[in-house]
């Protein structure tokens, strides 16, 4: 009797160790365990948060979004007053985040490509200047860049009164520590004709590029596609604009008692954030671009030269398409970094999404959880959108194998 129980125990142990020693079974068990721990962990955190909120008597609700925000925002691309809702205030913040992220990505890309190419230049001086700039910029934390540029603008540029006399370009543009003031265009009735011309120009360019490619494929004749495109997209609308009698009036900034009134203004906070994000990210992009260009083997140059292709065309047709394949994936990650770094706006009071919904609204309503969840969800969505777009672009330019 006793021996049989012992035997069956041994048999059970053997069976268990057999399962454990089976590689597939073991991996399944481990995965189930890991999942269970993960789910348990999140369940714990969530129930704990809920019970703690309940313990202090707080409810979880997004009703506050429809209440008046009651605070003013100094930079808004849409009409906003303090009587609008928290939701609208958040929207203003979201647009401001988008504005600084997009302008930052554009400037960082242009600067980054320029610096990256200069970094490879055989010209010693250009090469070194670019090198020093890149090393300085990317090795100083971005928060310091933001504070430094903001400090320079606020402390060294003249106050508006002085700026209205001394830092004045043709009584139209002013540079002061309250920002850059420029005339603001107000569209008149006939402006739509120029808009139509622009649309026509773009349409023509798309058609012409296809046409030129077809002609080149069949006859080898090459049109100056770039120049013609520029003429169609920029030249035509400008021409139409002047022919219709410049249908725009300008709201010109003017110094009043405290500050300039009218016109458009780039606030110091926007400029500081925009420049700091662009310069910082440009330094990284420059290195990515350099790596991309260096990754194309010299043999490609030589092969193209041997075929008698001009230098500019070699760059366009042989080198850049191959370099882009190396450049795009890390570039995507830089764009994401720039967008996320824009949340440092809070350090200088630029009214982005963190400062509006995640800042003032949070404070005025006491809804920490709710507002932080909104802000996190928004950053996540923006980042995923950028990722999606860049992945699409990456697929488009990747090596087509026949």
């Amino acid at each position: 009797m006793n021996t049989t129980t012992a035997d069956s125990d041994v048999a059970k142990q053997l069976a268990l160790s057999k399962i454990w020693n089976n590689r597939e079974a073991r991996s399944v068990i481990l995965q189930i365990l890991t999942m269970a721990i993960l789910i348990g962990f999140f369940a714990f955190i969530i129930t704990n948060a809920i019970s703690n909120l309940a313990a202090v008597g707080k409810t979880f609700s997004y009703d506050f979004l429809s209440q008046p925000a009651s605070y003013d925002i100094n930079q808004s691309l849409i009409a906003y007053t303090s009587r609008d809702t928290h939701f609208k205030a958040g929207l203003v913040g979201l647009i401001n985040t988008g504005l600084v992220a997009i302008s930052g990505i554009v400037l960082a890309t242009i600067l980054g490509f320029l610096l990256g190419v200069l970094r490879l230049s055989p010209n010693y001086l250009l090469n070194r200047i670019s090198y020093c700039f890149i090393e300085f910029t990317r090795n100083v934390p971005i928060l310091l860049h933001i504070l430094l540029i903001h400090g320079i603008i606020v402390h060294s540029l003249p106050r508006p009164k002085l700026a209205s006399v001394e830092w004045n370009l043709a009584d139209l543009f002013y540079l002061s520590n309250r920002g850059v003031f420029t005339p603001r265009p107000i569209p008149d009735d006939l402006l739509w004709i120029s808009g139509v011309a622009l649309a026509l120009g773009i349409g023509f360019t798309i058609w012409f590029r296809k046409y030129a490619k077809r002609i080149q494929d069949s006859t080898g004749k090459i049109y100056p596609v770039f120049l013609i495109s520029i003429a169609a997209i920029i030249g035509l609308p400008v021409l139409v604009f002047f022919v219709t009698g410049s249908p725009v009036t300008w709201d010109i900034p003017e110094f009043k008692r405290f500050n300039f009134q009218g016109g458009m203004v780039l606030l110091p906070e926007f400029m500081a954030l925009w420049l700091a994000l662009s310069l910082y990210t440009a330094a990284f992009i420059a290195e990515i671009v350099r790596a991309g260009i260096l990754s194309v083997s010299h043999g490609q140059w030589e092969a193209a030269c041997a075929l008698g292709i001009r230098r500019a065309r070699i760059l366009n047709l042989v080198i850049i398409p191959q370099a882009l394949r190396v450049i795009i994936p890390p570039l995507t990650s830089q764009y994401l970094n720039l967008t996320k770094n824009s949340s440092l706006a809070i350090a200088i009071g630029y009214m982005d999404i963190v400062a509006t919904i995640g800042g003032i609204s949070l404070m005025q309503t006491g809804k920490e959880m709710e507002t932080m969840i909104i802000v996190i969800a928004i950053y996540l969505s923006i980042s995923l959108l950028i990722s999606m777009f860049m992945n699409w672009y990456n697929t488009r330019i990747k090596l087509v194998e026949r």
């Binding site: 704990n48 800042g359 949070l362």
Partner: protein, 339 residues
């Protein structure tokens, strides 16, 4: 950035349930042997670090008074600096025990943010400061002005309401701390700085040339500033309320830092005896030592002494008692009876 980290840290703390709200703050503090007191990151006269790095000021002294009452030792305070935006999160997450940080008592904060305001240690109102050279006589002249504000405060809302109801325009410049506001104001990023009038006077006292700046006559809001505790911990709320009342009561009854030891030996006035613990058992009712009142006054003095030491007429800040005089002197500072 710092603030973001604090918010997220606080959120994480909330999520992980380290909150001490349920346990009874008084017992927690006594068990820990240290009071975690939330104060401003820096406001001259109210809470600021001196050259030795020690927190000083009106609010800081109330922290010390609380520690003296609860732990019997005014030095057992850990100061937790908070910005206007982080203060309630820090309090509600249990990182601090009490908030003595010129915080305005409002309906939403009291009711919806789940805080409990236990009194008012300074009656204030929002004002404006401008450089004299600007020639501004009244806040209603400020049409088109750029205004620096501390973001996340009630002043931000009052400002929006004031300009809106007077139908004049302005550009707000939201700034995180009082020190940054000062820098931006002095650099001319804004024409006007607005905050509580006491804060304006305090900030002005730190300027290179305080006389070049005027505080405009308009007071556009009521700002009752007082201590805050978490909602639902009534015992702890009572302790803070009566520490504040002890300082006011002591002033009214003529008890000072200098004579408290003498008076504690027993006087002819039973109320003084009850407050200082020589008669009756008020301390035990609060869950404190018998001599808690004596410890409070011994550590920081009565309300008048705290006021005059940090923000009164003879300091650089030079505030009048005004509304903050005792009710017997034409003010509204008033302590319920110790009975």
């Amino acid at each position: 950035m710092k603030k973001l980290q604090i918010i997220s840290a606080a959120a994480a703390v909330m999520a992980l349930g380290v909150t001490a709200a349920s346990a009874g703050t008084l017992q927690d503090v006594q068990a820990r042997g240290e009071l975690r007191c939330i104060v401003s990151t820096g406001l001259a006269g109210f809470a600021y670090t001196d050259s030795a790095g020690v927190y000083q000021g009106f609010d800081a002294d109330f922290c010390r008074a609380t520690a003296a009452a609860v732990l019997g030792d005014a030095s057992k305070v850990k100061f937790v600096p908070a910005t206007g935006k982080t203060r309630f999160t820090i309090l509600n997450s249990g990182e601090g025990d009490v908030l003595w940080r010129n915080t305005t008592w409002t309906f939403v904060r009291d009711v919806d943010v789940k805080l409990t305001f236990v009194g008012v240690n300074y009656y204030d109102g929002q004002g404006f400061m401008a450089p004299k050279s600007l020639g501004v006589k009244s806040a209603k002249d400020l049409d088109g002005a750029t205004v620096c504000i501390q973001t996340g405060t009630t002043t931000e809302l009052n400002l929006a309401d004031f300009f809106r109801s007077n139908k004049i325009s302005y550009e707000p410049v939201p700034i995180e701390t009082n020190d940054e506001s000062r820098t931006n104001y002095l650099a001319g990023r804004c024409d006007v700085y607005t905050t509580d009038a006491s804060g304006l006077a305090a900030t002005r006292s730190t300027f290179p040339n305080p006389k070049d700046h005027v505080i405009l006559p308009e007071i556009i809001s009521k700002e009752p500033l007082g201590p805050v505790v978490r909602h639902g911990d009534d015992q702890w709320g009572d302790v803070i309320r009566w520490v504040l009342n002890a300082t006011r009561g002591a002033e009214e009854l003529g008890v000072t830092q200098a004579n408290v030891a003498e008076m504690a030996k027993g006087t002819n006035n039973p109320e003084i005896n009850r407050m200082l613990g020589t008669e009756g058992d008020l301390g035990a009712m609060l869950g404190l030592q018998k001599d808690w009142g004596q410890k409070v006054i011994g550590a920081v003095g009565n309300y008048s002494e705290i006021f005059e030491r940090h923000i009164g007429k003879d300091t650089d800040i030079g505030l009048d008692r005004g509304l903050n005089a005792l009710w017997t002197d034409g003010g509204i500072q008033y302590s319920p009876p110790f009975r």
